[in-house]
């Protein structure tokens, strides 16, 4: 392993990376469809796209984690064929993942050296400190290397990750959504670091979905949408944010399901001035107010991580908050989930395997996860399993769940079938309000359509539905109104009939905000 940091000077004529016609196919999914990407030496190249657009997958191929199905990769003009991250590192490619790969109880120095051939036996760490310190000074990556990683801030941990790749001799750095975990001033520091790196001949691929950051720091941009390149290496100066937003979220909305026009009923869910923090203690919702009426679907649009998950959780009692949330006039904020369930709130959770179902329990047991308490499934003390079994069989038929029997374990179901089981449970509870988070994520077309049809049928039956989705097309097709959320604030509430995708895209990326709607 080399500790060399002497990259050739910036030279835009040299292509550091040239990926052409990359196809990455997983069983049932075409993650990347003939993608081209070039990285000039000494540039910051933004890779922009929504969640699930295939950005990380493409970069995992470049860093040797996956292998492409077809297509060629050249690094500094040389055709390469990576079989492991080790091969990619040997060619000077280093990736800083969104989730840090550090050992919290070891020092920064130890983490940087971890996995290298040296030191072999005796840990004479001070010998290595000098080399690390030189790197730090060269690129302004200051961090106390004697500290244990858990004592460092998130921004400092990220610097350790970058040092780790540099120490391994990386000239091409891939930063996977590096700003997602950072505080604003840390983001500024990171941008300075990135500029310092390219000034000394390193080349950077910067994965992001935040337009203003891309605009601030990138030289060129490649946009991916659903695995297809929609803008290939365009210099940033030639693009407006509006163009980028449209390239990112797409313009053609296909209405797969038909929605009847309906006059919504009285307000069922009323959220007033609700604020909450995320799992890291950072503000996730900031003074959100929103109403959902009976027989209406209110969509929540936003790029992942802007507070929509937390919004669903405060309504269903899974997260604490300030402010007021009422369902049919009853306060449910900061009450345990049992209370909201009791007041007719159904919840299709974002994480269907870790929250929405019990993997080693049967379909029957998963269907009665909430209904076991009440008649007719629950008696005073016992569960009426024969009845539960019969009900589950009916639901399995009705919702077209493909499984050998209702005694099949939940973990054996495909994503679409598991989601149908969850929907069967949540809809059969005859809810007044349904909070559905990413109900179609990761499903195939058939399942998506089935689930969208179920949601619309619920709306027509008079249920108030709050639909959180990252699929703008889905929101446009299903919602009566769309609330766009960015950084924990509702930027505007728009009517999908009379609003263009690009306008919503700008709201989603925090470029403009709109009152009322």
């Amino acid at each position: 392993m080399s500790t060399s940091t002497n990259a050739p000077p910036p030279d835009y004529r040299v292509l550091a990376v040239d990926m052409s016609n990359i196809v990455i196919r997983f069983p049932g999914v075409l993650a990347n469809d003939h993608v081209n990407l070039t990285l000039k030496q000494g540039e910051i190249h933004a890779l922009l796209g929504e969640n699930g657009a295939g950005k990380s997958t493409l970069m995992n191929v470049l860093s040797g984690l996956y292998k492409q199905t077809s297509g060629t990769i050249k690094v500094y003009g040389e055709k390469v064929d990576f079989n492991s991250p080790r091969d990619a590192i040997a060619k000077g490619i280093g990736m800083v993942h969104q989730h840090f790969m550090l050992v919290p109880t070891q020092t920064a120095t130890e983490n940087i050296l971890l996995g290298l051939k040296e030191p072999r036996f005796f840990l004479n760490l001070s010998r290595y400190d000098k080399a690390i310190r030189e790197l730090q000074e060269q690129f302004g990556l200051y961090v106390d290397t004697a500290s244990k990683v858990w004592q460092l801030s998130v921004g400092e941990q990220q610097r350790v990750e970058i040092l780790k790749t540099l120490y391994r001799g990386a000239n091409i750095l891939i930063l996977d959504e590096p700003t997602a975990v950072l505080a604003p001033q840390e983001i500024d520091e990171l941008m300075n670091t990135m500029r310092a790196l390219v000034a000394q001949g390193k080349s950077i691929i910067f994965i992001s979905h935040k337009l203003h950051e891309v605009e601030q720091v990138a030289d060129r941009v490649t946009v991916l949408r659903k695995g297809v390149v929609t803008a290939e290496g365009i210099p940033m100066g030639n693009m407006t944010k509006k163009d980028l937003a449209q390239l990112m979220v797409g313009r053609d909305v296909v209405f797969a399901v038909k929605k009847e026009v309906r006059e919504p009923g009285p307000v069922v869910l009323s959220i007033k001035n609700v604020s909450a923090t995320n799992n890291k203690g950072v503000a996730a919702l900031r003074g959100v107010s929103l109403d959902v009426r009976a027989g209406e679907i209110v969509g929540v649009a936003g790029v992942a991580g802007n507070g929509q998950s937390e919004l669903a959780e405060v309504i269903t009692g899974m997260r604490e908050c300030t402010g007021s949330i009422t369902v049919n006039g009853v306060e449910v904020a900061n009450k345990p989930p049992r209370i909201s369930i009791g007041h007719g709130v159904s919840h299709v959770p974002e994480d269907r395997t870790h929250v929405g179902s019990a993997p080693n329990m049967t379909i029957t047991e998963n269907v009665i996860m909430k209904a076991y308490r009440e008649e007719p499934i629950g008696n005073r003390w016992s569960v009426n399993y024969p009845l539960a079994h019969d009900n589950a069989e009916e639901l399995k038929e009705q919702y077209d769940v493909l499984a050998p029997s209702v005694d099949t374990m939940a973990r054996k179901l495909s994503g679409g079938n598991l989601q149908k089981v969850i929907l069967a449970r949540e809809i059969s509870a005859e809810p007044r309000l349904m909070v559905a988070v990413q109900p179609t994520r990761g499903l195939d077309v058939g399942a998506i359509e089935a689930i969208q049809t179920l949601l619309l049928a619920q709306r027509d039956a008079g249920t108030a539905i709050l639909l959180v989705s990252e699929e703008l097309e889905e929101l446009m097709a299903l919602s009566d109104r769309i609330a766009v959320i960015y950084d924990g604030v509702i930027q505007g509430i728009v009517d999908p009939e009379h609003t263009g995708v690009s306008e919503i895209g700008l709201l989603m990326t925090g470029q403009v905000s709109k009152e009322g709607g």
Binding site: N51, S56, R338, H354, Y372
Partner: protein, 377 residues
């Protein structure tokens, strides 16, 4: 001959029969290994094992002794089963056993029921007190875990020592019988009925020490089975054990269940302590348990947390204890127990991994490259 061993993680579920087969296989292999050890130290394994069988199951009297030993094991095995079903690692059944015995003793030592009360009043009160004592000892770690997220493995383990020393304090200082580390023998009203008590009516029963505690243990087994597999509470326990997040999402109060299940588990272990002092020892004394609480962990595991299997495994282990008393060196039964546990725990590996053997020539066949999961990020 050269061969290569290949271990793969199982992608599909193991076949249905495999868990039971590995458990039984583990016990068989444990006996084989014990036999090899016996041979090495100069014994005759066949003779030893047939002696074991004779001593434990060879006659009605032997069987009676075995069931006496199985009684506390069934109850602590059930105690562990209940907690383990919720992935609550109560390894404090030993302490809960002692506190159960202590509380049950209070009924006659304080006394709580007036002297001269009928047998059933006395025994009934002792059952209640024994269970309350065990539940109390389970409440402490349950509350600490539910409220402050204190690791229950540590607290239940530590509370074992406190319970034993607490017991010792009282039998040394307060209720010592003529300076010995034991209380005076309880009044007959506090003895569980034994088969031998009916020897006058049925001569066959003479000398048989099997007491009513065994019946209690069987009744409790059915109750625990019903709770775990038929009741609403059992459903909650199962759901929390499988996926606590899903349980919380379903509106189940996890903290409350941690406390309740620890108390229930403790109550069962406390009942075992009560049964032991009223059915066997008839007084409170030092070392009323030779580690039943820890054996209960093994039993629950070996029984794959099935209450009825707990009864069968307890009888096997009861037999080992009885036979072990009659053989030299006396540690032999414990050796076999230890090997059984080791084998059972090792056999879990087979449920999660598939092991295949290759001859030398086949060995080079490369494993199929794993397909990465489709990742959307």
């Amino acid at each position: 001959m050269a061969f290569k061993l290949q271990v793969e993680k199982r992608s599909a579920d193991p076949p249905r029969w495999l868990p039971a087969a590995t458990s039984i296989g583990a016990v068989v292999i444990a006996f084989i290994i014990s036999g090899i050890i016996l041979t090495i130290i100069g014994g005759d394994p066949i003779r030893v094992f047939s002696f074991f069988y004779e001593a434990a199951f060879g006659s009605w009297a032997a069987l009676s002794d075995t069931l006496v030993k199985a009684t506390p094991l069934i109850l602590v095995g059930l105690a562990c089963t209940v907690a383990f079903r919720m992935k609550l690692w109560n390894i404090g059944a030993e302490g809960q056993f002692y506190i159960g015995a202590f509380f049950a003793s209070l009924v006659v030592l304080l006394p709580i029921v007036p002297a001269g009360s009928s047998r059933w009043v006395t025994i009934g009160t002792m059952i209640v007190f024994g269970m309350i004592g065990g539940a109390l000892w389970g409440f402490i770690p349950g509350f600490l875990k539910a409220r402050y997220r204190v690791n229950e493995i540590i607290t239940t383990l530590m509370l074992n020592y406190i319970a034993i020393l607490w017991n010792n304090y009282w039998i040394f200082s307060k209720w010592s019988d003529a300076g010995f580390q034991m209380t005076p023998v309880f009044d007959k009203a506090a003895w569980l009925p034994r088969l031998a008590d009916y020897a006058r009516e049925f001569a066959f029963f003479s000398g048989m020490t099997l007491h009513f505690g065994f019946v209690i243990a069987l009744i409790v087994t059915v109750i625990v089975w019903w709770i775990l597999s038929r009741s609403k509470w059992g459903f909650e326990i199962k759901l929390i054990g499988d996926n606590p997040e899903a349980a919380r999402y379903s509106g189940i109060n996890i903290a409350r269940n941690i406390v309740l299940v620890m108390m229930f588990s403790g109550a069962l272990a406390g009942l075992a302590g009560m049964s032991e002092i009223t059915g066997v020892v008839h007084r409170l004394q030092e070392r009323i348990s030779p580690g039943y609480g820890f054996t209960g962990i093994i039993i629950a595991w070996l029984a794959k947390l099935n209450p009825f299997a707990v009864v069968l495994v307890s009888i096997l282990f009861g037999g080992l204890i009885v036979a072990g008393r009659e053989i030299q060196p006396s540690g032999l039964a414990q050796l076999i127990q230890g090997i059984i546990l080791f084998m059972v725990i090792s056999s879990e590996f087979l449920l999660r991994y598939r092991v295949s053997f290759f001859g030398r020539n086949e060995a080079e066949t490369p494993a199929t490259p794993s397909t990465p999961e489709a990742e959307t990020a």
